[in-house]
């Protein structure tokens, strides 16, 4: 019975998001959505993909990785090479961007996922910087002055990528494989002693996360007219990390919500360049003071509808 109910909720959210897509599409087609808002919307979409992909690595599997901009960069450059140098269609570029980042994820993940906590954080931070420096020194992709990229990212592409990302990550998480990943986050020793191949699942989560970061990179590259290594520094990694932490570690809907919220906040703060970072930082500080568990804690939006008022155990966790 519960599976039928869940499936219903699933199709309901799919149809709602398709309706949203259609409305925006009509607005863009009719010219009533000016390019500024269109651009904001695309940027929100890209940030949602980034937040969701990092959520899988940090929030679900508990591997504290802060080199996510590295995967973004790999995806961006790989896809840009595809379209600009090899004249491939955007579809190919998108997939190649994702795959290139996933391979980078495997290469960095297999040795470094033996490390735990702070050590892993430092290793992934190092990886992000290595990617940036390598790109800086390859003349083929323009070095420091960057690479010209034509504007190919459109609203349907962004929307489809967001939808696929969320469905894949949600389906992965709510399966025995996702539970295996969560058990690693909760207690790696216990997970090991329950017969979970912890290294394998850490690497899998890392590769899937990297894949979608690469997709985001492809969209990102083709949304601006130029990409430069300096766009992918460690500050970019922290921006993504903030989305996940602000949304609530372990909550996919939280990560999505935070991506929407923070993108909107930063976009509107662009009018006040001198106070922008101060306000942004204040928002984060206030947030962490009053809701250290993040916007959603570990809960999902769907669970709010499921148990509204009915169950007696509903609010037990709020005190804890």
């Amino acid at each position: 019975m519960t599976t039928i109910k869940r499936a219903k909720g699933f199709w309901l959210s799919i149809s709602l998001s398709l309706i949203f897509f259609a409305i925006v599409q009509v607005l863009i087609g009719g010219g009533s959505l000016n390019p500024f808002y269109q651009n904001t919307l695309m940027f929100i979409g890209i940030n949602i993909i980034l937040a969701a992909s990092l959520h899988l690595i940090i929030g679900i599997t508990g591997q504290f990785s802060i080199g996510h901009a590295g995967f973004l960069a790999v995806g961006a450059y790989a896809s840009a090479v595809m379209t600009m140098k090899l004249n491939m269609p955007f579809t190919v570029a998108l997939i190649v961007g994702g795959l290139a980042a996933a391979i980078a994820g495997l290469i960095i993940g297999i040795p470094s996922l033996r490390l735990k906590g702070d050590y892993l954080a430092i290793a992934t931070l190092g990886f992000g910087e290595i990617v940036r420096i390598v790109l800086l020194n390859i003349d083929y992709v323009g070095g420091a002055s960057g690479m010209q990229v034509s504007h190919l990212t459109t609203w349907p592409w962004v929307f489809a990528s967001v939808l696929v990302t969320i469905i894949v990550i949600r389906n992965f998480t709510s399966s025995t494989h996702g539970r295996a990943c969560i058990s690693i986050r909760e207690d790696e020793t216990a997970a090991d002693s329950m017969g979970i191949n912890t290294t394998y699942y850490k690497v899998v989560a890392f590769a899937i996360g990297a894949f979608f970061a690469g997709i985001a990179g492809a969209l990102y590259a083709h949304n601006f007219y130029i990409i430069q290594p300096s766009n992918f520094g460690f500050l970019k990694s922290f921006d993504i990390l903030i989305l996940v932490v602000l949304g609530g570690l372990g909550s996919l809907s939280g990560a999505v919500l935070a991506a929407v919220l923070l993108t909107v906040v930063t976009t509107f703060l662009q009018d006040y360049p001198e106070t922008r970072m101060i306000i942004y930082s204040l928002v984060l500080i206030v947030m962490m003071l009053y809701r250290p568990q993040g916007l959603m804690g570990t809960k999902e939006i769907t669970s709010m509808f499921k148990r509204k008022g009915g169950s007696s155990h509903g609010n037990k966790n709020t005190a804890a």
Binding site: N171, R179, E186, D192, I196
Partner: protein, 259 residues
């Protein structure tokens, strides 16, 4: 009993951390269906010995074999899949997961549906997950935990957490169950329930159990044989009444007589 082949054979196993010999040349044989106790003063190396059996540490000397198969240098998850599963001295549940999900994690290695089938929600995913669900509910019923199945594990009272940890270890379908101080921190009532539970699971699951415990009435009451560790070495073994009167054991626990 001597005619049977041992389920677990530990042959002069030891481990050294730098200069410290935490466990040295320990020989243990467990036969199918036995309930054996492992006792010793604090710091004797009991938990280290468990960690050697489960692959958390790799022994620096000796061999460990389960049903004749060498377990040395196998990673912990493989050893669990071969049939040794354990509980921990300080409870290590997946506290943010629900009670039923804790048990389902233990079923994971038996699941057949692939990552891809889960992502694409293919029929094999639904079938696999449904089987796990049904099995886990049946399982929780045996342990009287089914009414808490959607509760987060961390919200259970202490005694039930212990019970869930044992349930989770059993869900991994072991041949040999290692219990590390299951009665630690329990009140007499809970300890009594635990003794009944251990008797029940042995009967039900056709299991060999190795038990670390400080609660002597419990150990003496349920164990058929007892091994005694002190300073990483086996100082005695035998039936409970033999152990009770063994001067070496008394010395290890109470110290030498002052002369």
């Amino acid at each position: 009993m001597e005619t049977k082949t041992p389920l677990l054979k530990v042959d002069s196993v030891g481990i050294q951390f730098g200069g410290l010999k935490a466990v040295s040349s320990v020989n243990v044989e467990l036969y199918p269906g036995e309930l054996v106790g492992l006792i010793g003063p604090n710091g004797a190396g009991k938990t280290t010995f468990f960690n050697l059996l489960t692959g958390v540490y790799v022994p620096t000397e000796g061999t460990i074999s389960l049903e004749g198969e060498d377990l040395r240098k196998r990673p912990p998850y493989k050893i669990t899949q071969k049939g040794i599963s354990r509980t921990f001295q300080n409870i290590r549940l997946f506290s943010e997961l629900s009670v039923i999900d804790n048990v389902k994690v233990a079923y994971h290695s038996l699941s057949k549906h692939s990552i891809l089938s889960s992502i694409l929600r293919m029929p094999s995913h639904f079938k696999g997950e449904k089987e796990m669900d049904e099995k886990a509910i049946e399982f929780l019923k045996i342990f009287n935990l089914d009414q808490y199945k959607d509760e987060k594990a961390k919200n259970l009272p202490y005694g039930k957490q212990r019970r869930l940890e044992i349930a989770r270890a059993l869900a991994a379908n072991p041949k040999l169950l290692l219990l590390d101080e299951p009665a630690a921190g329990m009140n007499p009532q809970e300890t009594h329930e635990l003794m009944n539970l251990i008797a029940l699971i042995r009967e039900k699951f056709d299991l060999t159990v190795l038990l670390i415990e400080h609660d002597m009435p419990l150990v003496m009451g349920v164990c058929e044989r007892i091994y005694v560790l002190d300073h990483g070495q086996l100082i005695a073994q035998g039936r409970p009444e033999e152990i009770r009167n063994n001067p070496k054991v008394i010395e290890a626990y109470l110290g030498e007589e002052v002369s």
